[in-house]
């Protein structure tokens, strides 16, 4: 009895720690994005709130919380209200499964990878439902685009991850990291470079980021699926998008870059290497956004179905073949 309570308390504490870390990351990811893109465009970026604008995310959050929550006329109310939360919950739950460190993972389940994939597909429901429920034509088009995009890129991403699963022989994320440590190259990036390439591209598409940000293309559909949302609901969508980025990057770190393992141990910060790899990946997201134009809808589908999925399939086949031989 006591041990159960103790375990519960332990879980709650760990959950809170991880959630706080994750939320801070998400909040400061928006800040980092604005600052980095600003510097790439020879601007200054946010620099008014706090020293060097460091309190900007908090100010934004406060502003969005205190704004009026508008419900446009003619929306499908239950769907309209629930959609942002579907997005956020699905994106946020993934944090529980990412092993930050050998001893720091909230729930170490055996189908971790599958669970994350399932959640990220569910997250697209938030987008689709918000597009449908908003009673706006732009939102509707955005929702349609999102559903098509998510479905096609989900496949490429899963296939890329499957080859990792094949190599590790497990769906448990912890086991995947451990298998990587024991593998000859220490990380799966080197043997699975093609899978990594496919995964990164599909992850960018999965998160609706430039150059695949069609569902929310500002210059075409104004803001796409969340065009009718305001205040906190808008903020939740925003949060979900950045959560998605963090989860996808964390997944890439876990599956391809060897998780928390680095060339040498850093004292006192056991997940130093994990975070470093995460930041590099997140930087790439932002960097790409500052540089590239946007694909067109049909071109995006073509890229997904005609290039990424065949490449991922061939890679999977090769992996299985090599695994059979050795």
């Amino acid at each position: 009895m006591e041990s159960v309570i103790g375990k519960l308390i332990y879980t709650v504490i760990v959950a809170v720690i991880i959630l706080v870390i994750a939320l801070l990351h998400v909040a400061y990811l928006t800040y980092a994005e604005r600052k980095i893109i600003a510097r790439m465009q020879q601007r200054l970026g946010p620099n008014r709130v706090g020293p060097r604008g460091l309190l900007q995310p908090i100010a934004d959050m406060l502003k969005l919380l205190t704004k009026e929550d508008l419900t446009p006329y003619g929306v499908d109310k239950p769907i309209f209200y629930i959609a942002p939360f579907i997005s956020l919950v699905c994106a946020g739950t993934g944090v529980a499964l990412i092993p930050l460190w050998e001893k720091l993972v909230l729930s170490n389940i055996n189908v971790g990878l599958l669970f994350i994939l399932a959640l990220s597909s569910l997250a697209s429901y938030g987008v689709i439902l918000s597009g449908w429920g908003s009673n706006s034509r732009y939102a509707f088009l955005g929702g349609l685009r999102a559903s098509a995009q998510v479905i096609s890129y989900e496949i490429a991403m899963s296939l890329a991850l499957l080859s990792v699963v094949l190599m590790a022989g497990s769906l448990n994320l912890m086991d995947i990291v451990k298998a990587q440590i024991n593998s000859p190259y220490k990380i799966y990036l080197i043997p699975q470079i093609i899978a990594f390439y496919v995964f990164i591209i599909s992850a960018v598409a999965e998160c609706n980021r430039v150059p695949f940000d069609l569902p929310e293309a500002e210059t075409e559909l104004v803001a796409g699926y969340f065009v009718e949302y305001s205040a906190m609901r808008f903020a939740i969508f925003y949060l979900a998008e950045y959560f998605g980025m963090v989860i996808m990057s964390a997944l890439a770190v876990t599956c391809f870059l060897g998780g928390w393992v680095g060339p040498f141990e850093v004292p006192y910060i056991p997940f130093f290497w994990f975070l470093l790899k995460l930041y590099i990946l997140l930087f790439i997201y932002i960097w790409v956004r500052a540089t590239l134009p946007r694909y067109r809808y049909d071109q995006l589908m073509g890229l997904g179905w005609k290039v990424l999925i065949p490449v991922a399939l061939i890679n999977l086949f090769l992996t299985a073949f090599l695994k059979l031989i050795f």
Partner: protein
Amino acid sequence: MKLLEKALLIEILKGLALTLRKMLFARPVTIQYYDKVRPVPASGFRGRHALVRDENTKDTLCIACLRCVKVCPSKCINIEYETDEKTKKRKIVKYEIEALRCVYCGYCEEVCPVNAVVLTEWYEYIGFTRDDLFFDKEKLLKNWDEFIATQKRPYLNPFWKPRGIPEKFLPAKKRQFVGV
């Protein structure tokens, strides 16, 4: 080869390299207006209106010839004057400029034969009501005082004596004008 180039995203990497280079080495070009930098407009910038205050009479130089009223494309200048019975000299009673109507073409200062009206290089002016930007004679003179305090004397607005315009087009007073 071409396929390899395409697969390795060469041209995209070039673009990425450019943005990275800009991030690391280029300085931001942002002008942090107001608290860090306050740009000085070029000489002849067409900003807030003013009536030149005569040093001797402490009044405007305007002789109420109404040329500025006639030339104004947006009809934002309004002048009322009275004529002295004996000397036949005109004296202005009202000189109003509605800055919200003004299109800042600068024709008024160019046609003024005595260089009384001027669009100063003063660009920081706002108003919370429409009345704040409705300049009557007192306000216009005050504008001039505020402006000239920041300038080196003698001050010569380029539009009072436009460069390169033949002298034939300028009234006598403008030809010898050297500034106030």
